[in-house]
């Protein structure tokens, strides 16, 4: 057990996967010599050579399309897209081929691959570097969508994603790469995809979130606890498959729910959560489910991103409001 941050935990997961499975390879822009923009692949090329940790030209569609062929051909590629804003040129490959080959060939061919994408804002980055497009991937049949929020989960979920027989879009909250440290076991272990985690129990209001927003949710819960408002915070960990039972179970007890994400609100994943919660337990609801989300705007640049990002303050306000509804 060593204490690692999220980036280090992911690095260890990739190193472990490369060690234990000859079929695994890491491929992306600058993942080799520089170890990636966020150093998540740091040192891997030196330890596993350039044939298995591959620096590529700037061609996202090409990278994903090639990795798709590799996966169909029996390898287990782990693609890194430099920032979520640069996953869009590869969108056609993902939605039209990666997500479909199993269905198209009725299980004859499959694409077991992982597409790692740093996502979200909070570091004052340039345009296109703070995107949260998880809803788009979650809306695409045939993809699994995983979002870790801490080092332990990150490593276990990434190893599970690499072992998964189907394609996984693995979203890494940029803001948390170095913000959270945790004890992480050496070697191989997995955290199953599709199991939410209650990161804080509470009886009054259910707070449902994932990825970067778990930090703000925790903070909000602590602030509210001072006023004896006990918030149950749920980290979904994966959007597809979705562990809705854990969410519904909680809301049935609390009668109140707030969903939180950084992505724009309209048709964001929060809407799906609201829809499923009210389908399953409308009559337990004592108040409308509120959404604390990014706005329906372009993610702003450094000087104003704080106006966009849902912070503990907005979450606290929403929780208080839902108790007054």
């Amino acid at each position: 057990m060593t204490v690692l941050n999220l980036a280090q935990a992911l690095n260890q997961a990739l190193d472990t996967a490369l060690d234990r499975d000859k079929r695994v390879l890491v491929i992306g822009e600058d993942v080799g010599r520089t170890g990636g923009v966020f150093r998540v692949t740091d040192g891997l090329r030196a330890r596993h050579d350039g044939e298995r940790v591959v620096d590529t030209p700037v061609a996202e569609s090409g990278i994903v399309g090639t990795a798709f062929g590799m996966a169909v051909g029996g390898l287990r590629p782990v693609v890194e897209i430099q920032f979520m804003g640069f996953s869009y040129p590869a969108f056609d490959q993902v939605i039209s081929h990666v997500a479909r080959i199993r269905n198209r060939s009725q299980h004859r061919f499959t694409a077991p691959m992982v597409i790692r994408i740093p996502y979200g804002g909070g570091i004052g980055a340039a345009e296109h570097h703070s995107e949260s497009a998880e809803a788009i991937y979650a809306h695409t049949p045939g993809l699994k969508v995983v979002v870790p929020s801490g080092p332990y989960d990150a490593k276990g979920l990434l190893l599970a994603a690499i072992e998964d027989p189907d394609p996984v879009v693995f979203l890494e909250p940029i803001r948390l790469y170095r913000a959270v440290k945790e004890e992480v076991p050496e070697g191989f272990y997995t955290v199953p995809l599709g199991e939410a985690r209650v990161i804080r129990p509470g009886a009054d209001v259910t707070l449902v979130t994932y990825g970067a927003m778990t930090k703000e949710a925790r903070q909000a819960a602590e602030i509210l606890a001072r006023d004896q408002i006990e918030v149950e915070v749920i980290d979904l960990r994966s959007l597809v498959p979705l562990d809705i039972d854990t969410v519904v179970g909680s809301v049935e007890r609390t009668g109140r729910a707030v969903v939180v994400h950084e992505a724009p609100r309209t048709a964001g994943f929060g809407a799906e959560l609201v829809a499923q919660i009210q389908e399953r337990c409308l009559f337990s609801l004592e108040a409308p489910i509120r959404r604390v989300t990014g706005w329906d705007t372009v993610f702003p640049l450094k000087r104003t991103e704080h106006h966009y990002l849902p912070g503990a303050d907005r979450i606290v306000a929403a929780v208080r409001a839902t108790r007054e509804d």
Binding site: A59, G62, G65, T66, A67, M70, V72, R102, Q106
Partner: protein
């Protein structure tokens, strides 16, 4: 432009194969055309969904696929049934796919052919990854990808060509330049004189061949496949041919090309060209032709029966082919559908 057999069936260079193979490939072209015409008529009868005929492109497909070993990958399009069949994809599954049944996308385990790509351009990259995987697995397999002139306008063509060249993957890019992307002529698609010359942009060898010359296509493909197999990297082959039929059964070519042009290419029919050659060397006679056509017709009729005799599947299959194990959401939706099914 590489040519071995001129339109009249005269040799203008040494033949790349002997009469045995020549006859086998001629037979393949004849059967392929029977399949192609059968599909068009089935579609007119409403027994197939929209169909994209390849009449006129038989030599380009048969001649290139003939250069492959059984374990080589083929990644092709909606118009490449002949090439896919050459590599082992059963006629009945090709037909089944065209009836609008996903089971047509699932070839037997030993057949290294992906289901036909419907999107234009994207699939070329898959052949780069497949060849890469073969090398990584230490398998001497190459990947041949089929695409049209129109596909070369897509960004994915560029990325596939570049990545294949950069990583020297054993990929063969077989472009059937049939002169049209639906209604857009080759000249309107790009100002490069040939498609073959686009290979220079990637430091890749490119060759233009007479795509209606079975021998030329076979010779160029064999060379490219050997280069790929021996680790010398990818090749672009432009097979100059012509789509004699419509783009698909719902297309009306009169809107964008005239009779005269089609008539001109009719005279360059790849099957007739090879027939003349075989006749000239006493390897063809009317009797054999009749036999081929009877065998071919039977073969295709049998395939149609097989495809059409397959019972429909219960709706539940929809949910069982998305992942190895359906997610809870899919299971719930399957339940919902089954309940909705019962009145």
């Amino acid at each position: 432009m590489l040519q071995i057999l001129d339109p009249s069936g005269e040799l203008v260079a040494d033949p790349p194969f002997d009469h045995t193979l020549g006859r086998r490939l001629y037979r393949a072209m004849v059967v392929a055309r029977i399949y192609d015409r059968k599909c068009t008529s089935l579609q007119k009868q409403g027994r197939l969904a929209t169909y994209a005929p390849f009449e006129g492109q038989e030599a380009a497909q048969v001649g290139s696929a003939a250069a492959l070993l059984p374990e080589d990958w083929v990644v092709a399009t909606y118009r490449d049934a002949a090439a896919m069949w050459m590599q082992g994809y059963p006629w009945e599954l090709l037909i089944l796919g065209r009836t609008g049944d996903e089971r047509g996308g699932s070839p037997p385990d030993h057949v290294p052919v992906l289901p036909p790509s419907v999107t234009v351009g994207a699939h070329m990259l898959h052949a780069v990854g497949l060849a890469w995987a073969a090398r990584a697995n230490g398998e001497p397999r190459v990947a041949m990808t089929y695409f049209g002139d129109g596909a070369t306008s897509e960004g994915d063509f560029h990325e596939a060509m570049n990545l294949a060249a950069v990583y020297r993957t054993g990929t063969v890019f077989l472009c059937q330049n049939n002169q049209y992307a639906i209604s857009l002529s080759r000249e309107e698609q790009t100002r490069s004189e040939t498609i073959a010359q686009k290979a220079d942009a990637y430091g890749m060898p490119g060759v233009q061949v007479d795509g209606n010359d079975l021998m030329a296509v076979y010779a160029a493909s064999t060379e490219a496949v050997n280069r790929a197999r021996t680790g010398d990297g990818p090749t672009l082959i432009e097979a100059v041919t012509y789509r004699l039929g419509p783009h698909t059964t719902s297309d009306d070519p009169d809107r964008y090309r005239d009779e005269a042009e089609t008539a001109h290419w009719r005279l360059r029919d790849p099957i007739e060209r090879m027939r003349r050659y075989l006749e000239r060397v006493d390897e063809w006679d009317a009797g054999w032709q009749q036999q081929l056509e009877e065998e071919g017709t039977q073969e295709i009729e049998r395939a149609v029966e097989l495809a059409e005799s397959l019972p429909p599947r219960p709706a539940a299959y929809l949910f069982d082919t998305m992942f190895e194990q359906p997610t809870p959401q899919l299971l719930a939706q399957r339940q919902e559908l089954l309940e909705a099914a019962q009145p």
